[in-house]
């Protein structure tokens, strides 16, 4: 089972490495099976898949502590699973079931899990970036040394909310790590058509006085982990926010309804040559930490885990109609009708 780290860990021992590989496989399989369920109309709404970006979530969240806060945007399945969400809770949410991680009220774009400090997937581009600063503000206010990590796509770089939050995060040296997962596409608009400056590290950290602004190859999970750990250490030491440009690539369209006419088969094939999971398998084989047999066993376990999650989700009950009026306010909600 994927699980969040109990302590901020050094990079990296065999057990840790194999767990990271396994987490990436869980995310990949969870999402590819979700695509099939979406096509069979079991999953509704918008469904934004993370395939190709797994090393970014697993490598970064993997070096954080359990009491750190993790918040992300609408492409949130990977971050939730990397944070230790049970695949069955995620899959039940996709199917809108009562046992889903948000009781079937959130859906694909709004995964939440409070007991793992997974502060949610948020579906208005850039809107959650100030929330992350608020969580970091709370850590500073209380004098604890928790860190908040906040993920968003390159499209969010163009939102005013990001720049307002960055300004205050830098001004007040808040313990927050902002990770732009630069997959080069703001929905269907390539970076060179939505950003005048293509080096996002120039747009992110320096104008706001961050402690660092760094680019990292996010297909390399250990590079991602190392960069994040350094950022977390700076944040805990009171040195303020770090901006990380995680260079990545998504294999699928923006959402399941996106036919991806803006990219060629050759481009996709080239990207897949640097698949983060395959790359890490090679690394771990070279270290002698895994072999064919070990990989096959791991894949079989992951397959079984996801099969079980889907079976659970399909069989799980729908929320009762009385759930319409619960969870609106803490005190009993009085419908104004």
């Amino acid at each position: 089972m994927a699980h969040a780290q109990t302590e901020a860990k050094p990079i990296v021992d065999r057990e840790q490495a194999l767990d990271w590989l396994r987490q990436m496989l869980v995310i990949r399989r969870f999402e590819e099976r979700s695509a099939m369920l979406y096509q069979r109309q079991k999953i509704g709404g918008f469904c934004h898949l993370y395939s190709g970006q797994e090393a970014c979530a697993v490598g970064s969240i993997g070096v954080l502590r359990e009491d750190d806060y993790v918040i992300t945007a609408y492409r949130d399945h990977g971050h939730a699973l990397a944070r230790g969400m049970e695949p069955r809770a995620g899959m039940a949410e996709m199917l809108g079931k009562a046992s889903g991680c948000s009781k079937g009220k959130g859906g694909s774009m709004h995964f939440f899990q409070a007991n793992r400090n997974f502060m949610g997937g948020h579906a208005i581009v850039g809107s959650h970036i100030p929330l992350a600063a608020g969580m970091a503000f709370a850590s500073k206010y209380r004098g604890d040394d928790r860190v908040t990590i906040c993920f968003f796509g390159d499209g969010a770089m163009d939102q005013g909310a990001l720049h307002e939050a960055f300004n205050m995060a830098g001004l007040w040296k808040l313990p927050v790590i902002y990770v732009v997962e630069n997959n080069l596409m703001s929905m269907g608009t390539h970076l060179h058509r939505h950003s005048a400056v293509l080096d996002l590290t120039q747009r992110g950290g320096p104008p706001y006085g961050f402690s660092a602004s760094v680019a990292v190859d996010a297909n390399d999970i250990e590079a991602m982990a190392e960069t994040t750990l350094e950022a977390a250490n700076r944040a805990r030491a009171g040195e303020g926010p770090t901006f990380i440009e995680a260079k990545t690539y998504r294999y699928r369209g923006h959402s399941m309804s996106d036919p991806m006419k803006y990219r060629t088969a050759e481009e996709l094939e080239k990207a897949r040559e640097r698949d983060p999971i395959a790359l890490y398998e090679v690394v771990l084989r070279e270290r002698g930490w895994v072999d064919d047999e070990g990989l096959e066993l791991m894949q079989a376990e992951v397959k079984e885990l996801i099969d079980e999650a889907i079976a659970h989700a399909e069989e799980a009950p729908e929320p009762g109609l009385d759930e319409i009026y619960t969870d609106i306010t803490v005190s009993p909600h009085i419908p104004q009708e």
């Binding site: 502060m119 208005i124 969870d327 609106i328």
Partner: protein, 326 residues
């Protein structure tokens, strides 16, 4: 009981709650070193320090979101909008995040936050600074909306808002900030959310109203009393959730109703309240509900035009006479 200003009552409410609970802090533009653009937070920086009285950049969207994030992890922020017109810059944070967070997360995250500041048509400020956002925010399930009319209510209602575990939109009125009144000094004096108040007893007509229009309505009631018309003035105080018990008790007593509000007529608060009264107590009414609201135009700078847009005593008297068929 001491006689203090509405703005001082707000200050007392925040200060007492901050004294009581370290999780409460105030953030906004000019709230600290400048002592508050409208002097509501005067003296609070000296008393509580810069950790808890936080001057923000002019970034409503940003600091509203910071407040929500802090609330999600257990703090109890008070976010001041210098005027509520500026809250529209942060509209996304208020309605997409604060109002929805608990629901979207299946009840896992509460957002105990107060967004407060003044609103209203206050004197030659032109269209942008004269908004009345109450109907807008009252539309959203997940938000609570309060608008005090007196200094005592300002204190008791703000304390209730700060103690509440849900996001509260707390709208003050610029023209009431200097009003004086008796205010209890009991630190546990709280006016509960969702409790209307009969500001004047009467038997012939009920005026339902809130905020500054309470004062306009009370003046109209005085004038009508000279003609032996007995008007009951009910101050809604909380616009969401509505105190239907108090409203219906008054309608049942007087059988006639006028709604007075400063916001625009179309889709205004009165429209929603009238609908609920018609469906709950149509048979109690001896006349259609009359509504007095601002005229349907952006608010002009010119003082003569501006005053003409506002509900005034004459219009309220006219509406009362109309439901009495006088």
């Amino acid at each position: 009981m001491a006689v203090i200003q509405y703005r001082e009552a707000l200050n007392q409410a925040m200060s007492e709650e901050m004294e009581r609970d370290d999780r409460v802090f105030l953030m906004g533009e000019e709230v600290a070193e400048y002592q508050g653009a409208y002097k509501v937070s005067q003296g609070m920086l000296d008393r509580f320090g810069a950790r808890r009285i936080v001057d923000s950049p002019i970034s409503e969207n940003g600091f509203a979101g910071i407040g929500i994030g802090a609330a999600m992890v257990g703090l109890r922020p008070i976010i001041e909008f210098m005027t509520f017109s500026f809250s529209y810059v942060a509209f996304d944070q208020l309605v997409n995040n604060a109002a929805n967070m608990r629901y979207m997360s299946g009840g896992q995250f509460s957002v105990p936050i107060v967004f407060r500041g003044n609103s209203g048509i206050a004197g030659n400020l032109g269209a942008t600074h004269s908004h009345r956002p109450e109907a807008l925010f009252s539309h959203f399930p997940g938000l609570k909306v309060m608008m005090p009319s007196t200094p005592a209510d300002a204190k008791g209602m703000l304390k209730a808002a700060i103690r509440d575990d849900d996001p509260v939109i707390f709208i003050e009125h610029e023209n009431l900030l200097g009003d004086k009144g008796e205010v209890p000094d009991d630190p546990d004096f709280v006016v509960p959310i969702g409790q209307a108040d009969v500001k004047r007893e009467g038997s012939d007509v009920t005026i339902l109203t809130y905020s500054r229009s309470v004062m306009t309505s009370l003046k109209a009631a005085d004038k009508l009393a000279e003609e032996d018309v007995s008007v009951e003035v009910v101050d809604l105080r909380t616009l969401r959730p509505l105190d239907m018990d108090t409203i219906l008790a008054s309608i049942t007593k007087t059988n006639r109703c006028v709604f007075v509000e400063e916001d625009w007529y179309y889709c205004g608060i009165g429209a929603g309240v009238a609908d609920r009264i018609y469906r709950a107590a149509f048979d109690e009414l001896d006349a259609p509900i009359q509504r007095v609201a601002a005229k349907d135009a952006p608010i002009p700078y010119n003082r003569t035009l501006e005053l003409d847009i506002l509900p005034n005593v004459e219009r309220v008297v006219e509406a009362v006479n109309s439901v009495l068929y006088r």
